[in-house]
Symmetry: D2
Subunit: 361 residues, 4 copies
């Protein structure tokens, strides 16, 4: 638990913002799979800071090293250790914040829980913790693509009050997503989102947003009732990402306003199998994939660390004004795209391996 997740495809992450490095041990990766660092680096590059003017201007290369589990470009079936060195192990910018818990940040709760907190940068609650997840997720994705043809694509569907128009779940690609810095395939909305983010940055403020993710070509039968239901595992994975506040699958909260006669997805015969005419269920019925597209949305709050003055108190309860320094993202959702994709891949890979126990010999 805690820093490990998964049953058969299982990861254990480690590392905080200013230690030697961050990484992950990935256990359960199928053997004889081709794997090289570039398979992993591609998603790390989409996650790293400094990609565009919309994110922090910290520039961290985040180069991954494969420590184990791969020989001659093939996976051995043994645990794959992955390491990304931290560039800045000695922070400069955080000194003033040591005496003041940043509002809505984890400074206080880590201290309450552990009796100690990394002196700077968020420690384990930092977004750098997600590097291990993205690295592991890239391996899971590669497995899912070659074994089942599964494609996972996430994008920014809202920033602040700007909503993207509906995106075609059946066809949207990562290239389309990456065509702009916001990672929103609705170009008109993307332009407005970009303006919102820059405006927030200009105000030394931050802004929230929503990601949508689609997973295509899942076989039917993935998900283990009652507690490893596919949507339960996805919800768990998404809410384990820093700054997330909500998850909905298929019709989601809107579905709660519907009648059954409208919400139900009637069956039809298509593609040589039973399929559904609509997809309000988002690809799951009874916790199990039904071979339709899985799609879900994840809400991210605005980043807690802002430069704007905040009236708060220090650890002694004395009133203070905090103006956070440091280089922070004004909006996390563009960089969260590969994180959401990776967490989805890890969940699906685990449930796919589990479902194999039901194969006849």
């Amino acid at each position: 638990m805690s820093s490990s997740v998964g049953t058969l495809f299982r990861i254990s992450t480690f590392g905080e913002s200013h230690c030697a490095g961050v990484g992950v041990v990935v256990d359960g990766v199928p053997s004889r799979m081709k794997l090289q660092p570039s398979d992993i680096q591609i998603q790390l590059d989409r996650r790293r800071p400094g990609q565009s003017k919309l994110s922090t201007d910290r520039d961290e290369a985040d180069q991954v090293e494969i420590l184990s589990g791969v020989e001659n470009g093939l996976t051995l079936g043994s645990p794959i250790g992955l390491l990304v060195r931290n560039k800045d192990q000695r922070p400069q910018d955080y000194g003033s914040m040591v005496q003041i818990p940043r509002p809505s940040h984890a400074d206080l709760t880590y201290r309450q829980k552990y009796g100690i907190h990394a002196s700077s940068g968020g420690g384990r609650s930092s977004a750098r913790e997600t590097i291990g997840r993205v690295a592991a997720g890239a391996i899971a994705e590669k497995f899912l693509l070659q074994e089942y043809g599964i494609e996972i694509v996430a994008w920014v569907s809202s920033v602040g009050d700007v909503d993207a128009k509906a995106v075609d779940l059946s066809s949207v690609t990562r290239n389309q997503v990456d065509a702009n810095d916001v990672r929103c395939p609705d170009l008109s909305a993307a332009q407005q989102m970009s303006e919102q983010i820059l405006a927030a940055r200009g105000d030394k403020d931050s802004i929230g947003g929503v990601l949508t993710c689609v997973c295509r070509n899942l076989p039917a039968g993935l998900g283990e009732p009652a507690f490893d239901r596919l949507e339960a595992r996805l919800a768990h994975a998404m809410l384990s990402i820093p700054a997330t506040k909500g998850f909905e699958i298929g019709s989601g909260f809107d579905g709660a306003r519907m009648r059954g006669s409208v919400h139900n997805d009637p069956y039809t015969f298509k593609n040589g199998r039973l399929g559904t005419l609509t997809n309000n269920n988002g690809g799951v019925q009874g916790g199990i994939s039904n071979a339709e597209d899985i799609y879900f949305r994840v809400a991210f709050k605005p980043p807690a660390t802002i430069g704007l003055a905040q009236q708060t108190v220090d650890y002694q309860g004395e009133k203070v004004t905090l103006e956070a320094r440091g280089r922070h993202d004004p909006c996390v959702v563009p960089r969260a795209v590969p994180i959401v994709e990776s967490m989805a891949a890890l969940v699906i890979a685990d449930l796919a391996l589990i479902q194999k126990m039901r194969h006849p010999l």
Copy 2:
């Protein structure tokens, strides 16, 4: 996994709608706790069908038997086995549906996954599976109340398009919730919700809704980053309940529209500790409880089984019209109240026991 959940406070549920019974093994219950069947029965009675004109008119007493783990009214620290006998083991109403997978129900996906499905009544995907959860949750709640003073109260906050007005999180009680059949403490909204449910029933249709739940008096420090974050575990627990489509904590999806300067919860000194002036985070920061109220919302889709004619296909792909028979709830949210409370209690009890590992001797 699968039918078990939890690390130290751990449950394993069993049973489907038409077998001998349903139940649960609850492991990790602290010893020397007073426990008798009535402590458990009270929540089962709130969950059972036939309580009001708003639910199915099936009348199942659902009497719990404590099989083990308790002696002379005290828990022994050993696993507590709980059993509720099924009344109707031989169903009458479902015969015609065996050849037709009910739209948006688990009939098809169970067959795809297991190669077999219980002949009737939903089998393991039936709401009866939640009896074990509610029984176990009642024990968790009792522990949390006596050890920490924790109170957990859920209520119906929307049905269809009817939304309750804001409820006072700090004071709402189960008595207020149970004062009407809908279980909505806003009496005006409750009346409209009741009408919506009865209208759906009259139309042989069903309707969705949303529950809100508050957990008060949690100590600071519960939740294990990275993958046992409190909100991740709650999201997992809630999305493992049948018919759920969404979860949000604190500001949730609305928070994704805010700026950080609005969303952040500044600290103040109150009640002898650092607390927050607002609570957009919903009582968690960095995945760890901060001693403020935890509150979250859970979306339930409309029940899939409806009497209205549906155009669909049978297992052979032949077009058919399905008019489901049987006695079904037109809306699940009133009866889901104790289920949500129980799942929350199970999560918090587990994380509370884990946090004890950090106590000095």
Copy 3:
């Protein structure tokens, strides 16, 4: 953990000696397997007390009820709940022992751990706890036999100082084992063992013994390095049985006295595959089955509860003489045969399901 074990084929046991019943939830049982109570009862009957003059004269029928997971004689893939009612819920014989912790029994340590102990009969440390294991193991055995042809046979290989002659691992059957009350297929040794047990009983004393178990027809490839090595999982399973003190596989402790040139098992080509000429490794290499016979030995100490006077102290530390009453087995190994077989079956079934994740689609 604690009362649950297994990853995919997973059991959760419950119950102590004088509660309503004992049982188990078995999760992960493959679906569409024929299963009826008699499949389970046959092993419970071999475990129950009162079978012969060598065991306690308590007579408990131990009838199993299948609570869930089976319909029309076929498994559904859902958890199988199994319950055996306790006959005597109100003990008579233990009253005097409540103030005196029985030497080498769990009375004291349960009290130290939980702050409470079942008032009589050993509570959770009672041999009745193993009923759930045997019931679950019978299901695992049925699966292993029909899917792989795996046969598991255990027998008594020593009682006190009496050792059975070598038994042919490749052919010994349960019928041969059950041909006498001691469950030793070496009839001459069996006679002497029987005399040793009766002599111990006559002296109000008890006596220890050793079981040997062979598992035939395992496919190669079962066992998950590093911590789910087959021998590690077997050792865990065996030492979790009450009264066990040792485990050895293959050459075991004798192997530690050998040189590599003697101990190594050279390969040969046999039965269309690579096999070994000798089997000092006991069917495992590097933690993974090699398709040779698995065999191992388990040491059981003499039962702690004896009628002979023991000089000890009570809970207050006052010197007392204890003469335990009650009906106890003078030697547990004959009845432990199905327990050892069941635990082996549970381990192998779990590892077999896990290995299926490596099947191509």
Copy 4:
């Protein structure tokens, strides 16, 4: 599972003999504990090859790097990543063995399981995998010593046919153990053992041995019935070490020859508590520590890789003569001492943290 073990104090190891490095992620380490690399290095130095003429003459420094979880010499409560770089990533000596599975080694079974095997050096089945365990175990030991005063000491109690005389469990120290290369505190036996090992080496052969381990000052109450019994967890841990074939605790297999009246450990009042006059149970009753010394023995087979000619077959089934090259230990038990200690520490640390859930607030 697989490469992870533990519930609250949990490790995940990675690495094989010729990849970039080996290591471990240690989760659940209590926060605010002083920790520096030298705390870990001391046990790694006792494990490393090339320490004496009794082991392989490969000389690997095995310097540990702390990647995460520690700041300013204090643990943060977050996962501690530990890495030891492999010196020789490009093996020279194993080329000829690629076509021939070494008898009693894991070459064949890894290939059967994974369809691939590391080209050399044993891959994941190599003794280098234990580096992560020893590094993690050193942290566990430090925690146990400072929190409970627990001391863990293992030593070589037999090599081939040479047995050490009884060692005083209550007083033996690591200094006494390390006073000679064999790590046997009985100096006379140590001399004979050394001769046996050198003779085996001279013959290009190998030889087995037995370790004994004592754990002192455990509090009463550790161990979780039924499946996390202390002895079950220890057996699991020990049999997960490469080359082990047996485990016994307390009286072990000898106890199986005794009568209860001899084997039972009567209680007495000592040191202000109930204790036992004898300790045949080895410090556990009913799976729970009783505050007496824990002691157990572990059997190691002779190393499989020997230079002596062996008649075997290659992967194609063709008869061949194999004379293994490479630098191998003729006997593993001297270097296994810190491995056994570390695995014991990991088990006890995990069970100690779990038992804290029973503390009152």
